[in-house]
Symmetry: C2
Subunit: 383 residues, 2 copies
């Protein structure tokens, strides 16, 4: 392990997460109330004297608080959006104070199904309440208060993270000046929900799931998690990219000939199995269920009779919305629904449809056009 | 059961399948040899005196020999392509003798994993050899010989069925006069293989799979089959159609409010679970594995160094190729690859890209433009 890591000069370098305890009660959309909770947080850069330079980065389905930088004494530990954040990078930590957190229900240190429920002394497991995007935004609001941040310079995220950024503009219009929502949608389509449902059923019907209380059985629903992730990866990439990456190539083990069996044979099978196995080794199945449900429930127009324009009526932020041509999970068409509702409110919004072959995952990639746009967006933000 | 069925006058009406035994050995692509095998067959219409009016209908992943008509004393027993075939229908049984069969490896009566392996006296199970599209075409060729059919007026199929039709033109150019391949592709993409692989892994990792020998355990890998079918249905439909059919509607049981749990809640979840449960109740898991593998292996250009044009060099049939705008599993782009290779060989080919919102499943639907085209194609065939 103790390998020294050579990080480039525009990385934030070594970082440390902190666990913040909140002793206040948080009512959730479901009616449940969390009496107390922890949030796992990382920050990069310095909060300025007027506390006006904070940027909140919200994570997507499998993300967490470790957005940028590296952990000492840990190989391959760079944050999941390392390419975006650092001194001189598009989200420049010489100007901004950047905050990453693990959302409630997560499995990376914030209170979630793996955490001990004080009232029982056991892990929450299936008893952990279903959480929604507005719930997360409420928790993030308490985090902002804790840090003394009156107004975020920006709230930023891709996919489910972008949905949280949108919700911020609706629920706390005075507390966010810029919203940057990438590869998002104003709500999931039936097909989107369908893919989530297949993943959930893979987990729930795994005999090792034990109704969500597998911790007590000292097991995990590994098979279900693995299938969920294999399916997820298929929908995060594009057919074209997979064609470029894998084509119909056979693995080295398979050689040039068909094997006429069910062992791994095509490169794409090997890739998916590897991704699935890796994920099942570290991600919590109950968290996966919660995250997919938060996606399915996201529908900020719902309290406004389904009228997205009305939902954004009180928003005051400036918006940057971006989508990728090859993203079929949340296509540019879905982002345009957001843009239309904003324009109808005469809200200041820029929209970019970015050429890319990398599918939904594009939002994590250092695509030159995309990063140049983000650089410009952040450069224009006054702190 | 004994319910009388009122079928329309342009249906073929009541039909009966027959099981044909082949006592000849069939060498397979894998190197395995079947010493004998059964094929389950249905026919509609009359074979003419010159035996020139036979049309072979090849089935797709979950299909079988019961293509048209009804079974006496059985409710909802219409064939899977009932809307296409009958007196006065596009594939007119007053003119044509139509043959449906269950392919080798199937679970509807032809020799497959559920069948008893004479050498052991036990079901084949996991020992049943992997079969390929060319293997199926070889078995269909023996069927043609048995029926005294020197040349098919047409070989027809959608999806995996269309691939068999294409293979006929390549492997038995003298024995087929028209090839009709709908919603097919010249080979699967990495994404296509990926979806098949997730389905296979769902089955194989189900603890009830028992390495494919679940018959002996008196169980079935129900959970895996169910997941496979849920995923399949998601990829057979289009996002638009699912939006129209289900949107984000909640089920009646769920009422107007989110339930904040993991029971079925959205209509699309209910639909997918129902389809999955139904399928798991009648389809054989080993057959599902074999069918997906036949899809993955299909690549008629492979023996020709990957050159599809060369693969079709000896083809003599006239071709009709059709694809549907909303089919993202085998999109029109993939059908055009076939058309280009045929055109390069100066082969007589017509191509139709048909507007439809029903995704890959469109090939089974009575879409007026589509059926009108098929009617014309069949009308022009001389018998």
């Amino acid at each position: 392990m103790n390998a020294p890591i050579d990080f480039p000069p525009d990385s934030v370098g070594f970082v440390n997460p902190v666990r913040l305890r909140f002793e206040e009660s948080l009512p959730l959309a479901s009616g449940a109330i969390l009496d107390e909770f922890d949030l796992m947080v990382e920050t990069y850069g310095e909060l300025n004297a007027t506390r006006t330079n904070a940027v909140l980065v919200c994570h997507a389905l499998s993300g967490h608080h470790h957005v940028a930088g590296y952990y000492k004494d840990q190989m391959r530990s760079e944050g999941w959006w390392e390419n975006l954040i650092g001194p001189g990078r598009p989200l420049d930590t010489r100007k901004f104070f950047v905050i990453g957190l693990n959302n409630l229900g997560g499995c990376h240190g914030s209170t979630g199904p793996k955490s001990i429920n004080r009232s029982s002394g056991l892990p929450w497991g299936a008893e952990f309440p279903v959480v929604t995007v507005p719930d997360w935004v409420n928790a993030q609001f308490l985090l902002a208060n804790r840090l003394g941040i009156e107004s975020f310079a920006a709230v930023l995220g891709g996919s489910l993270g972008g949905m949280q950024a949108l919700q911020w503009a609706i629920d706390y219009p005075e507390r966010v000046r810029n919203v940057i929502a990438i590869a998002a949608a104003p709500k999931l389509s039936a097909e989107n929900i369908g893919f989530n449902e297949v993943a959930r059923q893979a987990i729930i019907t795994d005999p090792e799931f034990h109704g969500g209380n597998y911790y007590a059985q000292n097991t995990i629903p590994r098979r279900g998690l693995r299938l969920s992730r294999m399916l997820g990866h298929l929908t995060y990439l594009s057919d074209d990219l997979m064609g470029e990456k894998f084509g119909r190539e056979l693995t080295d083990d398979a050689g040039d000939e068909y094997q006429f069996g069910f062992d791994v044979e095509f490169e794409v099978e090997s890739y998916l199995r590897h991704q699935g196995d890796k994920f099942a080794g570290y991600f919590d199945a109950n968290t996966y269920l919660l995250m997919t449900k938060a996606l399915d429930y996201f529908d900020p127009a719902r309290p406004f009779g389904g009228d997205l324009e009305l939902a954004f009526r009180k928003a005051k932020a400036k918006f940057f919305i971006a989508a990728f041509t090859s993203d079929w999970r949340f296509s540019p068409k879905r982002s345009k629904e957001i843009v239309r509702a904003l324009v109808a409110n005469r809200i200041d919004v820029s929209f970019a449809e970015i050429e890319s072959s990398e599918g939904h995952d594009s939002f994590l990639m250092p695509i030159p056009e995309y990063h140049a746009l983000l650089r410009q967006v952040f450069a224009e933000i006054r702190v």
